[in-house]
Symmetry: C2
Subunit: 226 residues, 2 copies
DNA sequence: AGAATGCTTCGACTACCATCGAACCATGGA
DNA sequence: TCCATGGTTCGATGGTAGTCGAAGCATTCT
């Protein structure tokens, strides 16, 4: 009857379907209002409000009041990580989803994870970065490699401004579909931003899927998968 | 209202205190009987049985019947990983544990994670392995490095027998106390076994703590932290 | 065979918590 | 100042899941 951190408490927070839906809805790193989350979770506004209070109490969420709106967001990457970890075992345990529908397929190919790209494309990109020493891992720390700065400035991402932030520029994040690492951190965010800014892909509303256009995919592969 | 893997289902499995206790009790990688787990969780035998059935249903546990005993164990490292991830956010969210008691301190220093060593010592050891190229990481895959085989045979661990197993010899595992990687896989297990076989440390019953003796710590540091 | 141990199933009880409607606060605009 | 919109609080309701005692299987030991 030892006492580690109170794991049951927070697991039970994620254990309710409504709350789980809210959390996954926030996995794209965005911030949503209470009513949007209520819709997403399929419950009434009062219920949602009560759930949000509980999630706040457990420090899984942060809130930013703007006028009469209250924007809820995941409280950090740590929470996002946990959700992915849970998704991982759920995917293996689950009722063995008969055929992985088309939406599921696109999810595996490319999706948003908190604030960066995840899925098959992201993993391939990460592999290539490592191979070319654009980034290097050195224990769990991940840093820009010798070839890094020049590579990113060449494609219009200024790494010097990114590193100024308190947030780590590079982080590794585990995937639930592919069981490998991909790039998180502000650099990961910058790359996702570029992909969307160049309109290589678009994001269907209310989903984590990142949908590449055919020419967009070509451009992406040429630039990042060399 | 998209449908990823059914995360709420398995989160709620972990969300019950009794089940959470059982799972953490199994985090040392051992296999326990139903009665032992009942004791650990602080519930009666029938209740424990019902919980175990649920955990089995969710594929979080495996069972091995041996005579009239049924040994339950975590179904895999994936589950262990998830528990660690949850512990991570629980530690941050929690009721801010007044002073991290002595037991907590020893947990941070060295503990068992599923079947290998975790905590500060394990992370330091991992760092050193990487630095000396005893093992190398290459994307998420981790392998024995150029200096590896000779190093381990010198200290009496035969890597050739380990690699024969279907189970990967090297794996990286994330820590909830220190936020870094340490070594898992059959090699990690072999190292833990050696530490215990040499009596450098003992394991207080019913706890994940690994308690080094003073000379044991010296020997460990000399051998693994060079 | 008979007894003992380990575990599961059954049934009944209880407690908790998710849920919603309605009322209540707060902010912003007319 | 008054209305409209976004959110939260309150109270009542219902369902679900955890709990244990007693009885039921199974396996092993004598």
């Amino acid at each position: 009857m030892k006492e580690g951190p109170d794991i049951a408490r927070i697991a039970s927070l994620v254990g309710d379907p409504a709350r789980a839906n809210m959390l996954t809805a926030l996995m794209d790193g965005g911030a949503l209002t209470a009513s949007e989350l209520a819709l997403e979770a399929g419950v009434s506004l009062p219920t949602a409000s009560s759930h949000l209070a509980k999630l706040m109490d457990g420090k899984l969420l942060t809130v930013a009041s703007q006028g009469r709106h209250r924007y809820y967001a995941l409280s950090g990457t740590e929470v996002a990580n946990m959700i992915e970890a849970i998704s991982g075992v759920a995917a293996h345990s689950g009722p063995r989803r008969a055929r992985p529908g088309p939406r599921d397929k696109s999810m595996r190919e490319a999706r948003v994870c908190y604030d960066h790209l995840a899925g098959d494309h992201a993993v391939k990109m990460f592999d290539r970065f490592i191979a070319e020493e654009i980034i290097v891992r050195d224990d769990e720390e991940i840093r820009l490699g010798p070839a890094g700065a020049s590579f990113f400035t060449a494609i219009g991402i200024d790494t010097s401004t990114l590193s100024s932030s308190r947030r780590p520029m590079c982080r590794a994040c585990l995937d639930w579909s592919v069981r490998r690492s991909h790039l998180a951190g502000s650099l990961g965010t910058a790359i996702l931003d570029k992909i969307l800014a160049e309109k290589w892909a678009r994001r269907p509303a209310g989903s984590r899927v990142v949908e590449f256009t055919p020419p967009g995919r070509k451009a992406f592969e040429k630039l990042f998968l060399a």
